[in-house]
C-alpha cells in the first residue's frame, strides 16, 4: 500500500519513468533499434552531429539523446525540441520520425551474450549454443520481443514510408560518411563533409573505449556491471562467422532467414534458404 502511494506521489510529481506511456510530440525523432544493434554508437554519432558543442560523452549522452525508460516524465517534457529519443521498442504507431538501426542477428546475439556476462545475467562459461537457443525462442532479459518480432514490426509496417529511415549497422561501419549524410538529410540537419567527419571521429570505437574507461562506472547502462569487461567490445561485424557454431547459425537462419534476406543479409546455411521461403 505504501509502495503504491509512493508510486502515486511520484506520478503526481512527474518523477516516474514514462516508458511506453511516453507523451509523443509531433516533431520527435526516434532512434529505434533492437538491443545490441549499435544504438549507443548511433546515439553518439547523432549527438555529435546535432550537438557538437556539447562534447557528447557517457556523462551527458542520457541527457542529449535520452531513453524514455530511463529518465523522468518531467525531465522528458522539458527537453529542447525537436527531441531525439532512444528506443528499443517494437512498433509504436505514434512515433512520427524513425531512424531504424538494424544489425545482423547473428552478431546481435554475440553482442548480447557478452553484455549479459558483463552485467552478470549469465556466468562466464555459459554455453553460447544454449544462449542462442534462448535468444531465438525469446527467453530474454528484456521486454522487447525477439529480434525477428521487433524488427518485423517496424520493417513491414513502414518499409516504404518517408517517415522511417532504415540504416544497417554494417553500412554505418563500412561507409559511415555516406550513411551519416542520409541521417543528416533525414533529420534536416545541415551537415557538410567536415561536420560528418568530425561526428564519426568523435564516435569512433577507440574514442568511445577511452571514454568508457574514464566514465564507464558512472553511466547508467554500465555502472552496476563488471568493470573487467568492456561495453564497447569489438565494434565490428561478422564475428559470428568465427564464434557461432553451425547449429546456432542454422537455428537463427531457419527462424528469421526470410527477413534477414530482405534486409540484405546473406544466409550461410544454404539449405535454410529454401526452408525459410517455405514458411512465408
Amino acid at each position: 500500500m505504501i509502495k503504491r502511494l509512493i508510486a502515486g506521489g511520484k506520478h503526481f510529481l512527474g518523477l516516474h519513468y514514462p516508458g511506453r506511456n511516453l507523451r509523443v510530440f509531433p516533431d520527435d525523432v526516434f532512434l529505434v533499434s533492437y538491443p545490441k544493434s549499435g544504438n549507443t554508437w548511433t546515439r553518439f554519432l547523432i549527438a555529435n552531429l546535432v550537438y557538437p558543442e556539447k562534447h557528447p560523452d557517457f556523462a551527458n549522452i542520457n541527457e542529449l539523446i535520452p531513453d524514455p525508460e530511463g529518465i523522468t516524465k518531467r525531465h522528458l517534457e522539458q527537453l529542447p525540441r525537436p527531441r531525439y529519443l532512444k528506443s528499443h521498442q517494437y512498433f509504436d504507431p505514434r512515433y512520427p520520425k524513425i531512424i531504424h538501426i538494424v544489425r545482423d542477428p547473428r552478431d546481435v546475439v554475440l553482442s548480447e551474450y557478452y553484455f549479459d556476462i558483463k552485467r552478470r545475467a549469465i556466468a562466464d562459461d555459459f554455453p553460447l549454443d544454449k544462449f542462442v537457443a534462448r535468444f531465438v525462442k525469446g527467453e530474454l532479459n528484456h521486454p522487447y520481443g525477439t529480434w525477428g518480432e521487433n524488427t518485423a514490426t517496424w520493417f513491414y509496417t513502414r518499409r516504404n514510408s518517408p517517415r522511417l529511415l532504415l540504416v544497417t549497422y554494417e553500412a554505418l561501419q563500412s561507409e559511415g560518411a555516406r550513411q551519416m549524410a542520409r541521417i543528416a538529410e533525414f533529420i534536416g540537419v545541415p551537415a557538410n563533409t567536415e561536420r560528418i567527419a568530425f561526428a564519426l571521429e568523435q564516435s569512433s570505437a577507440d574514442r568511445m573505449r577511452e571514454l568508457e574507461k574514464k566514465q564507464g562506472h558512472l553511466w547508467s547502462s554500465t555502472k552496476q556491471t563488471r568493470q573487467d569487461k568492456p561495453f564497447v567490445r569489438s565494434a565490428k561485424s561478422g564475428g559470428w562467422k568465427r564464434e557461432l557454431s553451425e547449429a546456432s547459425i542454422a537455428e537463427i537462419e531457419s527462424a528469421w532467414g526470410g527477413l534477414m534476406q530482405e534486409l540484405g543479409y546473406e544466409l550461410a546455411v544454404r539449405s535454410m534458404v529454401h526452408a525459410g521461403t517455405e514458411r512465408g
Binding site: 502511494l5 508510486a7 502515486g8 506521489g9 516508458g19 531465438v136 521486454p143 520481443g145 513491414y156 509496417t157
Partner: protein
C-alpha cells in the same frame, strides 16, 4: 487554473494509490493471460460478449458487467484486474506486443471496418453527422482515426510476428458471422476449455445482435464506449458483413484496396478488381514469421 491542474493531478495520485486508475499500457501481464486483440470496429465487443458468456455462464454479459468480465486495460480499474479469476481474458486494440502470452486476433474486412468506424464516430460526436465519408476514408488510411495505427499497420504487426505460432489464433469477423458456433469451437480448442455444445449455443444466443441491441436500449449510457453519445444512433449497428458494397463509394473502395490489397488478399478478402468467380487466394505476403516460440 494552476490549482485546478494540481487538484486533478492529486486526484489521479490518490486514485492510483487505491488502485482505482485504469492501468493502460502499464498493465502487469500474467503468464496465463489471454488477449482478445483486434483493430477497433472489428467485432471485438461482440467477441467479448461471446467469451464472457462462455466463461461465466452464471452471469450473463451485459453492458454493465462486460468491463469486469472481459476487462479492458483502458476501461477497467487496476483493482478489478487484480481481483479477476485466472486465466484472465483481456480486450486490446494494440499492435503487436511481445508480452501477450496468448492472443486471439479478430480481423475484419477494412472496407467494412471503415464504414463501421465512420458511423461510430458520428454516434460519439467525433465527427459531424454530414461529415463526408471521403474525408474519413483518407484519415482512416493514414491511421488518424484511432491511436492504434492504421488498419494495415495494426494487422501487419500481428501477421509478421505471430502467424503460425501455437500461441496465436486468428479469426475473421466474417467467418464468425457466417458460423458462430464453429468459430467459437476454434477458440475453445485454442484455450483448452472444457465446453459442451449446449454451452456454446447458450453463449451464442446470449450474445446475439438482437439481445445486444435490447441491452443497449435498456442502458444506453452504461458503457464507456457510448457514454454521452448520440441516442438516435446505435452502437450495435448492422452486425453483418459486406455492407461496404452499398455504403462505400467505388473510389473509396479503390483507395483502400490500393493501400492494403496484398494484406487483404492474404487474409482471404477478395478485391473488387478480382473476378467474382475467382476463389480467394490467400496471397503470400512474402513475410516470414518471427515467431518461433513454443
Amino acid at each position: 487554473m494552476a490549482r485546478i491542474g494540481v487538484g486533478k493531478h492529486l486526484a489521479a495520485g490518490v486514485k492510483r494509490g487505491l488502485g482505482l486508475h485504469t492501468p493502460g499500457k502499464s498493465l502487469v501481464i500474467l503468464p496465463d493471460d489471454i488477449f482478445l486483440v483486434s483493430f477497433p470496429k472489428s467485432g471485438n465487443t461482440w467477441t467479448r460478449f461471446l467469451l464472457a458468456n462462455l466463461r461465466f455462464p452464471d452471469e450473463p454479459a451485459t453492458w454493465a458487467n462486460i468491463d469486469r468480465l472481459i476487462p479492458d486495460p483502458t476501461g477497467t480499474t487496476k483493482r478489478d484486474f487484480d481481483r479477476m479469476p485466472r486465466p484472465r481474458i483481456i480486450k486490446s486494440h494494440e499492435c503487436f506486443d511481445p508480452r501477450y502470452p496468448r492472443v486471439i486476433n479478430i480481423v475484419r474486412d477494412p472496407r467494412d471496418v471503415v464504414v463501421s468506424q465512420y458511423h461510430y464516430h458520428r454516434k460519439i460526436k467525433k465527427i459531424a453527422d454530414d461529415s463526408p465519408i471521403e474525408t474519413f476514408v483518407a484519415r482512416f488510411l493514414a491511421g488518424e482515426t484511432c491511436p492504434h495505427g492504421s488498419w494495415g499497420q495494426n494487422v501487419l504487426t500481428w501477421i509478421a510476428t505471430s502467424e503460425g505460432s501455437p500461441r496465436y489464433l486468428r479469426l475473421r469477423y466474417e467467418d464468425m458471422v457466417a458460423d458462430t458456433p464453429r468459430e467459437l469451437r476454434k477458440i475453445v480448442a485454442f484455450l483448452g476449455f472444457n465446453t459442451t455444445p449446449e454451452q456454446i449455443a447458450q453463449a451464442v444466443e446470449r450474445s446475439s445482435a438482437d439481445r445486444m441491441r435490447k441491452l443497449e436500449k435498456e442502458h444506453p449510457d452504461q458503457h464507456g464506449l457510448m457514454r454521452g453519445s448520440r441516442k438516435d444512433l446505435t452502437f450495435v449497428r448492422a452486425a453483418g458483413s459486406g455492407g461496404w458494397h452499398k455504403d462505400l463509394p467505388v473510389p473509396m473502395v479503390e483507395k483502400i484496396e490500393a493501400a492494403w490489397g496484398p494484406i487483404m488478399r492474404h487474409l482471404g478478402y477478395k478485391l473488387s478488381t478480382q473476378a467474382p468467380s475467382e476463389a480467394p487466394d490467400y496471397e503470400s505476403l512474402g513475410i516470414f514469421s518471427g515467431s518461433t516460440r513454443q
